[in-house]
């Protein structure tokens, strides 16, 4: 391998990350509409397609995001006459960037050894990865607030205010809900957390975050959805009343806010997978050093069957497992969005400050006590 291989590997990782983030955001906008249709006994968008050699290929309407992108890019970009032009123009970028870079610390596969060198399937391996995630994702509130402030529109202002209050409230809960896991695993690095989830309780129950901290999972997912301002916490948007902080935006600038929301859905799915559902771990699939019966990576089932599949196959299966879990949680978030009605603004605040925050604190204290007792 040449000296440039580490850089190539890094570029490859960034490529995979962008594919998972940006490449999935478009289909997600289609999935949102199509899935809601399926839930509500409708058909949904299924017409956009290609006409090749006299035949029409619609592929269930999967090309709708493409048509939407063309529409948004070619639309007139209107700016309110009294808007602050600089802040107005920069707001969509500020909203989109944090969503994009958060995924950098999420590992999407196990480490691979090439020529004696270890390479992680992760764009950035930062020791304080979880802190990085919260640091970056809290920046997203700036984009939203700027958009609301710079639009010179009362409705956008209201939306921006609501969004900032809501995002700041749930930020605290979200951070605290994960601290229990940090206490148990003793690391802030996402890939190390995933590695910790590789063993099994009693030989059969995977040591996934959800089995270690079930309450924390519910709190985290709730706070994360609130953080992303999606139904049932979509007060910042409130489609039926104030439309929200991006009410004055048109064309692709609106599209960027839209994209940020869907990329955040993917990031939340990635975080949930990494923290609570074993990341790239597959139940009973272990590395050679993890079990005495193995000479190379393979499955050791609780009933004693051993099935060795080799390191390469294990890596591929684990990457596939991560993508599968990621897609499942994207689906699950859309499912929640089309199941629940919207909270009132005061209800959101009460739920955040008076229910979830104390609950996460109690969870943290109990976890700390248990960890201390078991030491």
């Amino acid at each position: 391998m040449g000296a440039y291989f580490p850089y190539l590997w890094q570029l490859l990782c960034i490529g995979v990350m962008l594919l998972l983030c940006v490449g999935l955001a478009g289909p997600l906008t289609w999935a949102e509409r199509r899935q809601s249709a399926m839930i509500q006994d409708r058909v949904g968008p299924n017409r956009a397609g290609l006409s090749l050699f006299g035949k029409n290929y619609t592929a269930f309407g999967l090309l709708h995001p493409l048509a939407d992108a063309i529409k948004m890019i070619t639309k007139e970009d209107t700016i309110n006459a009294r808007a602050d032009r600089f802040l107005y123009n920069i707001a969509p970028f500020v909203a989109l960037l944090p969503a994009l870079v958060t995924f950098a610390v999420i590992p999407f596969g196990p480490d691979v050894v090439i020529d004696g060198q270890r390479y992680g399937m992760q764009v950035a391996r930062i020791d304080a990865g979880i802190v990085y995630i919260f640091a970056v994702s809290s920046l997203a509130v700036f984009g939203v607030t700027l958009a609301g402030y710079a639009s010179a529109s009362k409705l956008a202002m209201l939306g921006g205010l609501r969004a900032s209050a809501q995002m700041i409230s749930y930020e605290v809960t979200m951070g605290l809900s994960i601290m229990g896991l940090v206490l148990i695993w003793g690391t802030l690095e996402p890939n190390a957390m995933v590695v910790e989830q590789g063993h099994h309780f009693g030989g059969w129950l995977p040591a996934w975050g959800i089995f270690v901290q079930p309450l924390s999972f519910i709190i985290f997912l709730t706070a994360a959805i609130a953080e992303n301002k999606r139904v049932p916490f979509d007060l910042a948007e409130g489609e039926s009343e104030i439309v929200g902080y991006f009410v004055e935006y048109s064309g692709m600038k609106f599209g960027m806010f839209f994209m940020a929301e869907y990329i955040e859905v993917i990031v939340i799915a990635g975080l949930t997978t990494t923290l609570f559902f074993g990341g790239w771990q597959v139940p009973y699939l272990m590395d050679a050093h993890a079990h005495g019966a193995l000479t190379e990576a393979g499955f050791v089932f609780p009933w004693g069957t051993v099935w060795q599949i080799g390191d390469l196959a294990a890596t591929v299966i684990r990457f596939g497992a991560f993508v599968f879990k990621l897609l499942f949680f994207c689906w699950f978030q859309l499912m929640i969005r089309w199941t629940l009605p919207r909270f009132r603004y005061d209800q959101v605040m009460v739920l955040g400050w008076r229910r979830l925050l104390p609950l996460s604190l109690v969870n943290l204290v109990v976890t700390a006590a248990v960890v201390l007792a078991l030491q």
């Binding site: 899935q35 399926m38 839930i39 509500q40 006994d41 409708r42 058909v43 499912m335 929640i336 199941t339």
Partner: protein, 214 residues
Amino acid sequence: MGEVKQGKIEIAHVSREIPPQEKLFVPGIVEGLGATVRHFFKNVFGGKDKYTQTIEYPDVKVEYPHRFRGMHRLVPREDGAPRCVACFMCQTACPARCIHIVAGETEDHNIEKFPVVFEIDELRCVVCGLCVEACPCDAIRMDSGFHPKPVYSRDDADFGKSDLLAVLGRDEAKSGGVRDKTAPPATAAGTGRVDRADGDGGAGGAAGGYEHAH
């Protein structure tokens, strides 16, 4: 609910407190998710059992009922000319005033008049079918089984005599139009009457009255 007794109304006190299990939200959310997930999977993988009832119109078309009133058509005689005798019955009956007829005189004394112009403005038509009811000759029908085609300009919605003659009926043999030239007229030319397979009465008789014209 309070029970109503003689001379006295009992008031039931209903607690507005939300029970604790509902305050938790989680059981309610699980129940709701159950319903939406059931609909989702049945609609995606359910095949024939799915809840979705949508008929995807341009790809899938529903057969209209037998008596569906569609695009008008003029019923031709055996020689291809319309049966219409320009009596103005349909134009008079039309509540939307969408039929425009200009009558002309024929050589044939049995027929006397024919439509020089017979126009229907399908944009004005309210599809009531009164013209069909009014026609004494069974010359105008709405049994084509399809809608008037969309047009690009309002003028194109005025369908003339040749357009209306070109429209075919959905089930011609049954309702008795004699278009098939190989089929001989059923009765003698002397009475001038054509028997209809389904005997649709007066209209058929009236139309048959001009049968020996050619």
